[in-house]
């Protein structure tokens, strides 16, 4: 993210990109680790293939929202060294902004009774 870019320039994030970045919150992961995390979090609904994943990684890196960290071995997957990715500080800010945007949408939907059982989140803070 350059100095001239605002948070809003990155929003809204596509669901795949949001899920990829979400998988990196609190933990650095390699490509296959990101895939597994996204698949687990969506109960198999989103299953990324390599082309989509690395296309997104390339663009997120160019935008400065994620960065590479050192290559290392994942003990669970044999002795191959893997490139790990981490969420940058601008990436964390974009994720917070996107989460707030989605939460606001959910609040408005709940206020219109579109989310049964969620009425408590519709109340203004």
């Amino acid at each position: 993210m350059t100095r001239d870019q605002n948070l809003e320039d990155f929003l809204p994030l596509s669901e795949s990109v949001f899920r990829i970045m979400l998988s990196l919150v609190g933990e650095d992961r390699h490509g296959y680790g990101i895939m597994k995390e996204v698949k687990a979090r969506t109960e198999g609904r989103i299953s990324l293939a390599p082309g989509t994943l690395y296309g997104a990684i390339k663009r997120l890196k160019q935008q400065g929202l994620i960065a590479e960290v050192e290559k290392r071995v994942d003990p669970e997957l044999g002795d191959e060294r893997r490139r790990y990715y981490t969420l940058t500080v601008p990436g964390q800010r974009v994720m917070r902004a996107e989460a707030a945007r989605v939460a606001d949408l959910a609040r408005q939907a709940a206020a219109k009774d579109l989310l049964p059982g969620w009425s408590q989140i519709a109340a203004p803070a």
Binding site: P50, G51, Y54, K58, L77
Partner: protein, 268 residues
């Protein structure tokens, strides 16, 4: 057995990775192959051969889509410029529109937009090209093509659009536009991927107007062949341009300046 399937799939997938742009492949190819191997092992453990088949189907579809996206994004990074694309589109739509409406002596109100669009497009492309010699060649080519078209049609038949000169004129027109397109590409006015849609649009536009206003005129084999040749040439041209990356405009300009400075130092 499991290792064999993974190893064979890995070899095939590495071959398939060649459809991605080179820069993307160099940066992520190895990681993608590694990730694919991980997915293959997981699929084999979970669902054996059915899992591998399903994975391959998903990966093939994803590769076709994502490789196309990467090529488009790469072109945009290298050579896309909106002004050039706008002028190119203006020419591609305006030129055939002007030609066909004029040839059929349609009302000036219908023909005028084609001429205006073509004029804007040609002027814009000329200004954009900047390098005098190549721009002039392109412009002369188009002028000569139009001249040949009119002359051939008038002298061979005595009236517009009435003879076998029409297919010939279309082929000549194609070469004129092709040369212009090639020059524009070499100077990065627009890139190969935006040129292919332009070529298809130009052909499509021509077809549409010919069918719309001249269906009754196009019954004989020669004219139909001419039109088919026109469209086919555009497609061949598109493929050739795809294989031939645009030249470096800055490098061409630097070479020209160097030649000028050498000539000047030779004079003094």
């Amino acid at each position: 057995m499991m290792d064999d399937i993974v190893a064979t799939s890995d070899r095939i997938y590495r071959l398939i990775l060649n459809v991605y742009p080179r820069a993307f492949r160099d940066e992520y190819g190895e990681e993608m192959a590694q990730t694919m191997r991980d997915q293959l092992r997981e699929a084999l453990v979970d669902r054996r051969v059915f899992g591998v088949t399903a994975l391959w189907l998903k990966v093939l579809l994803d590769t076709a889509r994502s490789a196309f996206t990467e090529h488009l994004k790469q072109e945009r990074r290298v050579s896309f410029n909106r002004r050039g694309l706008g002028f190119g589109l203006s020419t591609a739509i305006g030129f055939p529109l002007a030609l066909v409406t004029f040839a059929y002596w349609l009302h000036p109100a219908i023909a005028a937009p084609g001429f205006v669009l073509a004029g804007i497009g040609l002027y814009g492309l000329y200004e954009r090209l900047e390098i005098d010699t190549t721009a002039m060649i392109a412009t002369v080519w188009v002028g000569v093509t139009l001249g040949l078209y009119g002359t051939a049609d008038i002298y061979l038949s005595g009236k517009f659009f009435g003879t076998h000169a029409v297919p010939t004129a279309f082929v000549l027109l194609t070469f004129g536009l092709a040369t212009m397109g090639r020059v524009a590409l070499r100077n990065k006015t627009f890139g190969p991927f935006s040129f292919i849609p332009l070529a298809v649009t130009a052909s499509g536009g021509l077809w549409f107007f010919v069918l719309l206003v001249g269906a009754g005129e196009y019954r004989d084999v020669m004219r139909t062949s001419g039109l088919l040749a026109h469209v086919a040439l555009w497609f061949i041209l598109g493929a050739l341009l795809w294989a031939d990356p645009p030249g470096d405009k800055d490098a061409v300009r630097a070479a020209k300046e160097e030649r000028q400075s050498t000539a000047e130092s030779g004079v003094t």
